[in-house]
Structures are given as C-alpha cells and as structure tokens.
C-alpha cells in the first residue's frame, strides 16, 4: 500500500534555512545540508528546498547546497523558487534535485510547464500554487510570495497544470501559511478531488492533528511542514506515529 508522505520544507535564503510567519520576520534555523541529513535520518519521506529570494540573488549558492545535499541524503529532494526557464530546471536536476517546482513562471507562461514536462518528464515537474480564499468555496491564485493577485481560479488552474504536465501539485494556502491554524482543508480537498495527480498540502501546520486532517479530510497524499519540525516542536517520528494512529498508512514505523 502506498504510504502518505511527510515532507519537511526548508525555506532557503543565501544558502541558509529560514522560515517566517506570513513570509516576514525571517528567523535563521540552520544549514540546509545538515538539516537535510538530520531529516533523512529522522525518517522524512522527502525534502523540499524553497529558495525564497532566488529571483534576485546569486543562484550559485543554491546549486552548491543542492549538490551537497543530494550527495548525503538518499531520499527525494524537490527544489523550487525562482525557476523561470528550462535552463534553471536543467541546472537544478544536474545539481541533484529529483523534482523542481514551478510557481510564478507557470502563471506568466503556462506553456512553460508543458515544455518542462516534455523535456524532463512529468515525474520531476511540480507546480506550486499559492492560493487565497476570495469567497466561500472559491480560491484565487497568487504569485510573488502571495503579494500579487492573478484573478485565476485555483481549482481550475490546478486542473489545467495537471493537463499540461505537472506530475504533482504543491498547494499552499496563503491565508494559513505561518499561522499554525492548520491547512485550509476546503481548498486542499477541492483541488485534490479535481486533479488526477498527487497533491501536497502546505501552509498552516501547527499541530500533529493538522497533518492528519490534510490527508484524511483534505485528500492530499503528502503534507508539507516547516516550523513545527525545524524548531523541534514535534519530531518526524511523532508525526508519523500520530498519523498511523489515525489510520493513515505511514512508512518506517516499528
């Protein structure tokens, strides 16, 4: 049986891991390579690096961090942030990323997703979607770290991305990100039930029960979290145990 995934996300800036509340007040939480090794050993099912300032800073530091991480952690690694062209994807894959996530560039030019999937295969193309609720049961896609509205319906967008070649949707609620109030379950479920590809729920995890809800109620097949793991609030093992107790198939339980 397929196991549900726990994916710690490392927000990376200048080669260092940071994580903020609603994308401000960044707090330094360590070296990405060391963290990746810790998470690998702790039983994380995948890792995600999000380069939050990639669009206007030197990428070489990121490629180096990816390279060193891939050499020391034998679990899948997704890298995103500032991915704008096929060459960015090629470099990340060559540095050792297993999957690359595309966000703003997909909104600016949806065909980029199709080209990327044709070039590298759908299995390594993740489309990251940042969404905010605009009315009950309706969510809109935002870009630029949640600052820019697009007028695009999030559910329809995710469906279109899957058709164009997204192998996976990384779905973040901008309303919940950094709040610790839990995933936006309505959003997660609306998207997960609308697309044929796996959906990773993101944004808002504050407790272990939130992780359970993302899978059980949101129908995601993976849950992404940052702060609760980085600052030691909970361990990956505790998260897995709670999810398994809730009847969710998990890997690496004794």
């Amino acid at each position: 049986m397929l196991k549900m995934r726990i994916i710690p996300c490392l927000d990376v800036k200048d080669g260092r891991v940071v994580k903020g509340v609603n994308f401000v007040d960044l707090v330094d939480a360590g070296d990405p390579v060391e963290q990746a090794q810790l998470y690998d050993a702790a039983g994380a099912d995948e890792l995600c690096f999000l380069d939050i300032t990639a669009s206007h800073e030197d990428r070489a530091i990121l490629y180096d961090a990816v390279r060193r991480t891939a050499e020391h952690a034998f679990i899948p690694l997704t890298v995103g942030g500032g991915v704008r062209q096929v060459e960015d994807i090629r470099r990340l894959l060559l540095a050792g990323a297993d999957k690359v996530s595309i966000n703003t560039a997909a909104v600016q030019r949806p065909d980029f997703v199709r080209e990327a999937a044709e070039k590298f295969g759908t299995q390594c193309i993740v489309v990251a979607v940042d969404a905010k609720q605009v009315e009950p049961g309706k969510w809109e896609v935002f870009t630029h770290g949640g600052r820019k509205a697009t007028g695009i319906d999030a559910v329809g967008w995710c469906r279109r991305m899957a058709v164009l070649g997204a192998g996976e949707i990384l779905l973040t609620s901008m309303d919940r990100d950094g709040t610790g109030d839990g995933f936006d379950i309505g959003l997660t479920r609306a998207v997960a039930d609308a697309v044929p590809v796996p959906v990773i729920a993101s944004g808002g995890v504050g407790t272990l029960d939130h992780l359970v809800e993302g899978i059980r109620d949101g129908h995601a097949t993976g849950v992404l979290a940052a702060s609760i793991f980085h600052f030691g609030t909970f361990s990956v093992a505790e998260a897995k145990r709670r999810m398994a107790d809730a009847g969710i198939p998990m890997r690496g339980l004794e």
Partner: protein
Amino acid sequence: MPAPPTVAIVDYGSGNLRSAAKAFERAAREAGRAVTVEVTGEPERVRRAERVVLPGVGAFGDCRAGLAALPGMTATLEEVAIGAGRPFLGICVGMQLMASVGREHGDHPGFGWIPGEVTALSPADPMLKVPHMGWNDLTVLDAGHPVLAGLADGADVYFVHSYRMVPADPAHILATADYGGPVPAVVGRDNLIGTQFHPEKSQAAGLRLISNFLEWRP
C-alpha cells in the same frame, strides 16, 4: 595490484546521476567492497565494466532516443548484458527498456530482453493518483534471489512512475507493490534485474539492494 572492478552507470542525458553514483559508492563502502563507480556515456567504458546500471527517467520513447543518440551504446548494452552475461540493473525507465515494447506516447520498441510490454497505470480506484508517487512496500515473490536478500516483505521503497512493465512470463516478476492491484516492482531473469522503484532514493532498503547487486554473481 589490479584496479578495482568498475560499475558503469550509463549516462545518456536522462536526469541527474550524481546522487545515484553516490548511493552506489556508499553501498560499496558499507559492504566493504572496493568498486569504482563510473558515470559514463562511452560504450568502450561500458564494455570494460564488471557490471552495468541503466537508469532512466521521463518518457520511454525519449529514453530510447537518448540511448540511440550515443553511437554504439545500444549494441554495447546488448553485448555486455546478453552476450557476455554481466550483471545488469535497470532502474525505473531503465528497467522498462528491457521489455519488448513501450506504449507511452505511441509504441516504441524496447530491448526485448524480458518479453512483455510497458502500459499505463490505470488504478480503478479514483482516489489512487497517477503518477504512483511515494513509498510503497514490496511483496517479494522470489525470496531466494540474491539481489533481494534482506528485503523482507514490507520493505518500503520509493516509486515515481505512470507506466508499468507487464512481463509476458509471470516468472519474470520477482516482486510487486500494491497500487490498485499488484504492480511489478522488480523484474528479472538470469543476469538481468530491474527495479521500477528508485533504490538510490530508498534509504536503507535501497542501499541494501544496491550492495546486493554489487555482490551478485549470476
């Protein structure tokens, strides 16, 4: 003193092979085996290797075309795997290429080493997403196979694929994973073995399989 034996990981432009190479190096080190791991696109180096690994990500036809773009490589693989009978490991699409035909985006001929076809995953349950992505546990059918030693039933390994290999002879299926029914996870015969999952991304279970492959004397 003779040079240590070489494992050739075939590089034909299909994704990153650095982490795969690192996984083989680490597995060799943990097994206490002196092995040189070489990532190469040169047929001559593949011909000299003691054992050969064919990775592969993306579409079947693209991988086939990528191999064909390396002059002499396809013939060399046939020479070492079928002619010389050296240990050969295909990973993901590298495994699928051993089939007779791949039916992803039209029909493409495979090597035909393990008769069968590669067809789309289509689990009946709509809750089961495609790609089949994530960790799934193995049901080992050929528990005596040296490459599967120590991978007791229930070992979780990492899959990411939308197509599956269906060998014509069920005896060529060495292990399965359940995803809306049994999906071939390990196939093989004689000196050939293939994994649908990614041993280089499968932590301890994957490293064990790699180290078994490095010791394998088919």
